[in-house]
C-alpha cells in the first residue's frame, strides 16, 4: 500500500486533488458515453457496441498520457511554446476554413494525412492563445495600462484567433473571446480597456459571422431560444430526460431519451447524466467542476510568479466556463451551441488538448509545490514573498 502511495507520489506530481478529480471525470465519462452511444451503435446495425467503449476509453487514456507528459514539463517552457502554437494555428485555421471536412455544414476539421485522424485546429489555437495571453499579461504587469505596448498586442492575437475560429464555429470563438476578457480582467487590465475590447470584438464578431458559414444557424438558434411559446425539439427531449431522471435517476445505462436526443454522448450528455443518475448525479458533476476550478485557482494565490497563476487560472476557467455553458444549454439556460462538455463528452483529438491543458495546470501546481518545499528546506519562509517579486521582475526584464 505504501509502495503504491510512494510510486504515485514519485510519478504523479502536482496537486493530488486535481489528479483525483480528473480520474473521477474519466470514469464517469466512460460510463455515461457507453450508455449514451450503446443503443445508437446497436441500432445502426453494426452490433458491436463495445467498439465505442474501447475507442472512447482508449482516447481517454491517450488524453491522460498527454496530460502526464505535459505535467512533467516545467510550465515556463509553455510561454515560449505558445507563440509557436499561435503562429502554427493561424494557417491551420485558414486551411480548415477553406478545405476542412464538413460536419453539420461547417468545416471545422482537418484530417491528418497518415493516421487519418480528424483534428480541430481550434483546440490547438485555444490552448496556445490562453497560454500566450497569460504570458503577455505576466510580462506586462508593471505597465499594464499602456495601450501601445500592452493592450494592442493582446487585442491583436485575441481578435485574430477568435475571429478565425468564429468563421467556422461562432460559439467556440465567442466563448474563447469571453474567456480571454476574463483572463485580462484577472490580469489587471483596466475595465475601460476591456469594455473597449468587447465593443471591438462585437463588431469583428458580426463581421466574421457575415463572412463565415454559420450565420443562419446562429440566428435561427437564437430565435428559437427567444421564442418562449415553443420549446425546440432538442430542449424538449432534454427536459424530458431531466424531469424523468428525478432525484435519484433511472440508474446506469437506463436512459430512454438517449434514443431521441441528438448527440446524447456529446452536446446533451449532461441531460443523460441527470436522467440516469438523477439530481444527485447532476449536482455532483457541477460540484466536481467547481472543485476543479477551485484547485486551479489555489495555484494563483500560491504562485511565485504571475505567469504560473494566470496560466493556471486561464486554462481552468476556459475549461470550466465551457462546461458551464454546455450544462446551461442542456438545462435550457441558453441557446443551443453545440459545444461538447469537456472531460465528459466523447471526442477525438480534443481529449488530447484537454489533457494537455490539465497537464499544464498540474505542472504549475507541481512547480510551486517543489519551490515551496525547497524554500522551507533551504530558505527562510520570508523569502517566498521576495521571491514572487524578484521572479516577476526577472520576467519583465527578460523581455
Amino acid at each position: 500500500m505504501t509502495k503504491v502511495k510512494g510510486w504515485l507520489q514519485d510519478n504523479l506530481k502536482g496537486d493530488p486533488i486535481l489528479w483525483g478529480i480528473v480520474i473521477a471525470f474519466s470514469l464517469i465519462s466512460i460510463l455515461v458515453v457507453y450508455s449514451a452511444i450503446g443503443t445508437l451503435a446497436y441500432r445502426k446495425g453494426q452490433g458491436n457496441t463495445e467498439f465505442f467503449l474501447f475507442k472512447h476509453t482508449g482516447l481517454i487514456v491517450v488524453g491522460l498520457i498527454f496530460m502526464w507528459f505535459a505535467h512533467k514539463i516545467n510550465y515556463r517552457y509553455y510561454s515560449r511554446l505558445s507563440l509557436i502554437g499561435l503562429l502554427l494555428s493561424v494557417p491551420l485555421l485558414l486551411f480548415a476554413w477553406k478545405f476542412g471536412t464538413t460536419v453539420n455544414e461547417a468545416s471545422r476539421w482537418i484530417v491528418i494525412p497518415v493516421i487519418k485522424q480528424t483534428f480541430q485546429p481550434s483546440d490547438l489555437a485555444k490552448l496556445a492563445l490562453i497560454t500566450h495571453l497569460a504570458s503577455m499579461l505576466s510580462k506586462r504587469q508593471l505597465n499594464i495600462d499602456n495601450i501601445k505596448e500592452t493592450i494592442i498586442p493582446m487585442l491583436f492575437w485575441v481578435g485574430l484567433i477568435c475571429g478565425l475560429i468564429a468563421l467556422m464555429n461562432i460559439s467556440t470563438g465567442l466563448l474563447l473571446f469571453l474567456t480571454c476578457m476574463l483572463l485580462m480582467f484577472i490580469g489587471r487590465v483596466p475595465m475601460k480597456y476591456i469594455m473597449m475590447q468587447i465593443l471591438v470584438g462585437a463588431i469583428a464578431g458580426s463581421l466574421s459571422l457575415a463572412l463565415g458559414q454559420r450565420m443562419n444557424t446562429a440566428i435561427s438558434r437564437i430565435e428559437n431560444f427567444m421564442d418562449k411559446d415553443e420549446t425546440v425539439f432538442q430542449l424538449e427531449q432534454s427536459y424530458i430526460a431531466i424531469a424523468t431522471g428525478d432525484i435519484f435517476g433511472k440508474g446506469p445505462g437506463k436512459s430512454d431519451q438517449r434514443n431521441f436526443l441528438p448527440l446524447p454522448y456529446s452536446d446533451f450528455i449532461y441531460a443523460i447524466i441527470i436522467e440516469e443518475y438523477g439530481l444527485i448525479g447532476g449536482v455532483l458533476v457541477v460540484f466536481l467542476y467547481l472543485a476543479f476550478l477551485y484547485r486551479g485557482m489555489v495555484a494563483v494565490s500560491r504562485s511565485y510568479g504571475a505567469f504560473g497563476g494566470l496560466l493556471s487560472a486561464g486554462l481552468s476557467f476556459s475549461l470550466v466556463i465551457q462546461a458551464m455553458v454546455n450544462m446551461g444549454v442542456a438545462v435550457g439556460l441558453g441557446p443551443i451551441t453545440g459545444l461538447p462538455l469537456p472531460l465528459l463528452s466523447m471526442g477525438g483529438t480534443s481529449l488530447i488538448f484537454t489533457g494537455i491543458s490539465i497537464g499544464i495546470i498540474l505542472s504549475v501546481s507541481r512547480s510551486e509545490a517543489e519551490l515551496a518545499a525547497s524554500s522551507t528546506k533551504g530558505n527562510s519562509p520570508g523569502n517566498i514573498k521576495t521571491n514572487f517579486s524578484s521572479k516577476m521582475v526577472a520576467h519583465v526584464s527578460s523581455n
Binding site: 445508437l40 441500432r43 445502426k44 446495425g45 477553406k98 455544414e105 504587469q141 476574463l182 480582467f185 484577472i186 490580469g187 489587471r188 463572412l211 458559414q213 443562419n216 425539439f233 424538449e236 427531449q237 427536459y239 424530458i240 431531466i242 424531469a243 424523468t244 431522471g245 428525478d246 432525484i247 430512454d256 434514443n259 431521441f260 441528438p262 448527440l263 441527470i274 439530481l279 447532476g282 449536482v283 457541477v286 467542476y289 467547481l290 476550478l293 477551485y294 485557482m297 494563483v300 494565490s301 504571475a306 497563476g309 494566470l310 487560472a313 476557467f317 470550466v320 466556463i321 458551464m324 450544462m327 446551461g328 438545462v331 435550457g332 439556460l333 514572487f388 517579486s389 516577476m392 521582475v393
Partner: protein
C-alpha cells in the same frame, strides 16, 4: 508594489470564481425547477411517446435485361403533406388564395374555398401536419406543385412536405411479367422479384418521426440510419427475342384456342435463357402471363413424343444400333408387353429404319426397340434416365421449379407396361424447361448445362455475384458417338418427318414434335398437349428452344402443326438478329450499347428520371440534390456536387438552365458565352461569394 499586484490578481480571481459559482447554482436551480415544477408536464409528454422510429424504405434494385435495359425499377412518387404553421404571416396571406385555387383545380375534388378552409383551420389550430391529398404524384406533378405559392418557399419556410413513395414500374409493361414476378408486402410472390428478394430489397433504414394528428412528421436527426439501396439483377433475357416469343405464342394460342402455352429460348453453350414466355387463357381470346408453365408444377405434364429422344439416347448408349438399322412396326395396333399400342395417325409404317421411327414418331417402333433391349432389365433404362439428369430438378435460379416424376421398377405402381409407356413419354412427368435442358445437351455435344436466367447481381456497376453455366457443374450425359446419331435423327424430323413446318431455307433446324393425350380424372381424354423442342442452326447449334401449346381446340392437334410455327417464328427472328451467325460483326453491337448520353452534371432526380426513361442504369453514390455524372461500364454514377451556402457552386457540365438556377440561387449575376453545356466558369468553385459578384460561364 509586487505584493499589491498579487493581492489584486487573487481578488479578481475570487470574483470570477464567485461568478462561476453563481452560474453553477443557476444550473442546479433550473434542474430543480424542471424536475419539481414542470416534472409532470414533461413526464406526461414522454408517456405520450410522440417520438417513434419508423422504417425508411430502401429503394428496390432494378431488374435488367441482358443489354442493361431496365425491365423493372422503382420510380419515386410523392404524397403532399403540409405543415401550415411554418409559413410566415406575410407569405401565407398573400399566397393562400391562389394556392387553394390551384389545389382545387388540380385535384378536382374540393372547391378552392374548401382547400382554403382546410389549410386555414389547421393553421389556426396550430396543427403541424396535414395531408393535402392522398393521391400520389409523379415527379413532374411534384415539380409543378413545388412552384406554387407558399409551397415554393420550400420545406423550412413554406412548410410543404413531399413524402416519397417508391412504386414498382415495368418499362416494358407486361413483357416477361411472370418471369420478373412480383412480391407483396407480406413477402409472398413469384418469379425473380420473389426469388431474389433478399438482394433486390436492400436494407431499410430508420428515422425518428414525431407523431402528429394525420400522420408522422420526420425529424432530421443525426441518429437516423440511412437505408441501403437494393442490388440490381441482370438477367439473361433479350428484350427483343422475348417480345417475339410472346407475340408468336400469343398468336398461336389465339389461333388454336388453346388453354395455355409457353416458349423458352436458350443459348446452347452458356445455358442463358434469352426468352421465356408463359401465357394462360384468361377469357375468350385473352391470354395473360398468369403462371410460369415452363418452370412450375402446373406446367409439368406427360411430355409425350418429345421424350422419345431420351429413349433413343438410352438405346444408342446401350447398344450398337445405328439410325439405319430397321425394325418392323407392323400395320396398326400391336401388343407390346401384353397391351395394345397404336400409332398417333392410326395406321402402321411396316418395316422402317430407326431414323424413320423417330422422324415419323412411331410409338410402336420406339416401344418395341426399348422392350427388345431393356425389357428384361427395366432398371437399366431408368438408370439411364437418372444419368441424363431427367429425374431431378435442374436447380434453376427461380423459386418453385417442378420436380420430375419418374417411376422405378421398385415402385409399387410399376407394372409390366410401364417401360414401354415411359419410352414414348407417358407415365412420367417433367417440366418444359427440364425437357429443353435435355435437348440442349444434345445440341451442346452431350454436355448438359443448367439453364440460367440471372447473370449478375450488382451494386451499381460493381458485380457482387455472377453466375455462369460452369457454376452448376455441367456434365457429359452421353458419348459423342450417340450425339452424332441423335442429331441425324432430329435433323431428319425437320427434313422429312413430323417437323416439316419449321424447315427454313436459310438455316437448318433439328428437333422433335410431341403430342400427348391429357389425363382427366385418371382417364385419357381427347385433349392434347402439343410441343416442339429443338435447336438451330443444326450444323453449329446456337440456340435451343421448346414450345408447348396445351389443349388446342381448333382441330389441329399435332405438335408439328400447332407448336412448330411458334418455334419457326422465334428461330427466324433470333437467326436474323444474331449477326454472329452470319458474319463476325459483333463488336459493332457492343459499342452501340456502351454509348451513354452526354450527361455530365445536374439535378439528381431529373437525371435519374431521364436516364431511366432511356433505359440506362444509374447508381447513386450521393444523396445530394445536385450531382456530377461519371460513367462506369454501361451505367452512370451520380457523385455529389454539394452546394454550400455562400460559396461559388461548381456548374461545370450542367446545362445552361441548371447552371442559371444554381448560380442565381446563390445570388450571383451570370454572364454567358457560347451554347451547350458549361465548360468553364470565371469564379473558382468553393470560394466565398461576394454580394452581387458577376460570374461568366463558357458553354460549348
Amino acid at each position: 508594489m509586487a505584493k499589491n499586484i498579487k493581492k489584486s490578481i487573487v481578488t479578481r480571481v475570487r470574483v470570477a470564481f464567485l461568478a462561476i459559482c453563481l452560474f453553477a447554482v443557476a444550473i442546479v436551480a433550473k434542474v430543480v425547477h424542471v424536475q419539481f415544477f414542470e416534472g409532470k408536464k414533461w413526464a406526461q409528454l414522454q408517456k405520450e411517446s410522440r417520438m417513434i422510429y419508423l422504417p425508411v424504405y430502401a429503394t428496390r434494385g432494378n431488374v435488367l435485361s441482358d443489354n442493361e435495359s431496365i425491365m423493372a425499377t422503382s420510380l419515386p412518387f410523392y404524397r403532399v403533406a403540409f405543415d401550415p404553421t411554418i409559413c410566415d404571416e406575410k407569405h401565407f396571406n398573400k399566397g393562400i388564395d391562389s394556392l387553394a385555387l390551384l389545389l382545387s383545380r388540380f385535384y378536382r375534388d374540393k372547391s378552392a374555398e374548401g382547400y382554403r378552409r382546410k389549410i386555414k383551420n389547421a393553421r389556426l389550430a396550430k396543427r403541424r401536419y396535414i395531408r393535402i391529398h392522398s393521391r400520389q404524384l409523379n415527379y413532374q406533378e411534384k415539380k409543378m406543385m413545388a412552384s406554387w405559392p407558399i409551397f415554393r418557399e420550400g420545406k423550412n419556410k413554406g412548410g410543404v412536405i413531399f413524402e416519397k413513395v417508391d412504386k414498382r414500374f415495368r418499362p416494358f409493361g407486361t413483357l416477361a411479367q411472370r418471369t420478373i414476378g412480383r412480391i407483396t408486402e407480406d413477402k409472398k410472390g413469384s418469379g425473380l422479384e420473389y426469388t431474389y428478394n433478399s438482394y433486390l430489397a436492400g436494407k431499410d433504414g430508420e428515422a425518428l418521426f414525431e407523431r402528429m394528428a394525420g400522420g408522422n412528421k420526420p425529424i432530421y436527426n443525426a441518429t437516423d440510419v440511412k437505408p441501403l439501396p437494393g442490388y440490381d439483377l441482370k438477367t439473361t433475357i433479350d428484350i427483343n427475342l422475348q417480345d417475339v416469343a410472346e407475340n408468336a405464342l400469343y398468336k398461336a394460342l389465339v389461333a388454336n384456342n388453346a388453354q395455355y402455352g409457353c416458349v423458352v429460348l436458350m443459348e446452347v453453350k452458356t445455358g442463358e435463357i434469352k426468352a421465356i414466355a408463359n401465357l394462360g387463357k384468361a377469357g375468350e381470346g385473352v391470354y395473360v402471363e398468369n403462371y410460369n408453365y415452363a418452370v412450375g408444377n402446373h406446367g409439368r405434364t406427360e411430355p409425350g413424343s418429345t421424350f422419345k429422344l431420351a429413349s433413343m439416347m438410352a438405346l444408342f448408349e446401350e447398344t450398337n444400333l445405328t439410325p439405319s438399322d430397321t425394325i418392323d412396326t407392323g400395320h396398326g395396333r400391336q401388343l407390346i408387353a401384353g397391351k395394345a399400342m397404336g400409332e398417333a395417325t392410326g395406321g402402321g409404317y411396316g418395316k422402317i429404319s430407326v431414323g424413320q421411327v423417330f422422324e415419323k414418331s412411331s410409338n410402336v417402333g420406339t416401344a418395341k426397340l426399348i422392350e427388345q433391349h431393356f425389357g428384361t432389365q427395366p432398371q437399366k433404362f431408368v438408370d439411364y434416365l437418372h444419368e441424363f439428369g431427367l429425374s431431378k430438378p435442374l436447380g434453376f435460379q427461380m423459386h418453385g421449379e417442378a420436380k420430375p416424376f419418374i417411376r422405378t421398377p421398385a415402385d409399387v405402381s410399376w407394372s409390366r407396361t410401364s417401360l414401354s409407356r415411359m419410352s414414348i413419354g407417358y407415365g412420367l412427368k417433367i417440366s418444359p424447361l427440364q425437357t429443353l435442358a435435355f435437348y440442349n445437351a444434345v445440341a451442346n455435344n452431350g454436355i448438359k448445362v443448367t439453364p440460367i436466367i440471372v447473370k449478375e447481381i450488382r451494386k451499381g456497376s460493381t458485380v457482387i455475384e455472377s453466375f455462369d453455366a460452369q457454376d452448376f457443374n455441367p456434365t457429359r450425359i452421353c458419348s459423342e458417338e450417340t450425339v452424332k446419331k441423335l442429331r441425324v435423327l432430329m435433323e431428319g424430323v425437320v427434313e422429312h418427318g413430323t417437323g416439316k413446318h419449321v424447315k427454313s431455307q436459310y438455316y437448318k433446324v433439328a428437333g422433335k414434335t410431341g403430342t400427348s393425350w391429357k389425363i382427366k380424372n385418371g382417364k385419357y381424354i381427347k385433349d392434347y398437349s402439343t410441343s416442339f423442342a429443338g435447336y438451330f442452326p443444326a450444323d453449329n447449334p446456337k440456340y435451343s428452344c421448346i414450345v408447348i401449346i396445351d389443349t388446342p381446340k381448333s382441330g389441329r392437334i399435332y405438335g408439328g402443326d400447332v407448336a412448330a410455327p411458334v418455334f419457326r417464328e422465334l428461330a427466324d427472328k433470333a437467326y436474323a438478329r444474331d449477326l454472329s451467325l452470319h458474319k463476325p460483326l459483333a463488336t459493332r453491337v457492343i459499342t452501340d450499347r456502351q454509348k451513354l448520353p452526354p450527361v455530365k452534371a445536374g439535378n439528381q432526380e431529373e437525371l435519374t428520371l431521364i436516364t431511366n426513361k432511356l433505359g440506362i442504369s444509374t447508381h447513386n453514390k450521393s444523396e445530394e440534390e445536385w450531382v456530377k455524372a461519371d460513367s462506369q461500364g454501361h451505367s452512370l454514377i451520380w457523385k455529389s456536387n454539394k452546394l454550400m451556402v455562400g460559396r461559388v457552386p461548381d456548374v461545370a457540365g450542367m446545362t445552361l438552365r441548371d447552371a442559371l438556377f444554381v448560380l442565381g440561387n446563390q445570388g450571383l449575376k451570370v454572364q454567358t458565352e457560347g451554347k451547350g453545356r458549361v465548360q468553364a466558369q470565371s469564379l473558382e468553385p468553393g470560394t466565398p461569394i461576394k454580394k452581387g459578384s458577376i460570374i461568366t460561364i463558357k458553354l460549348s
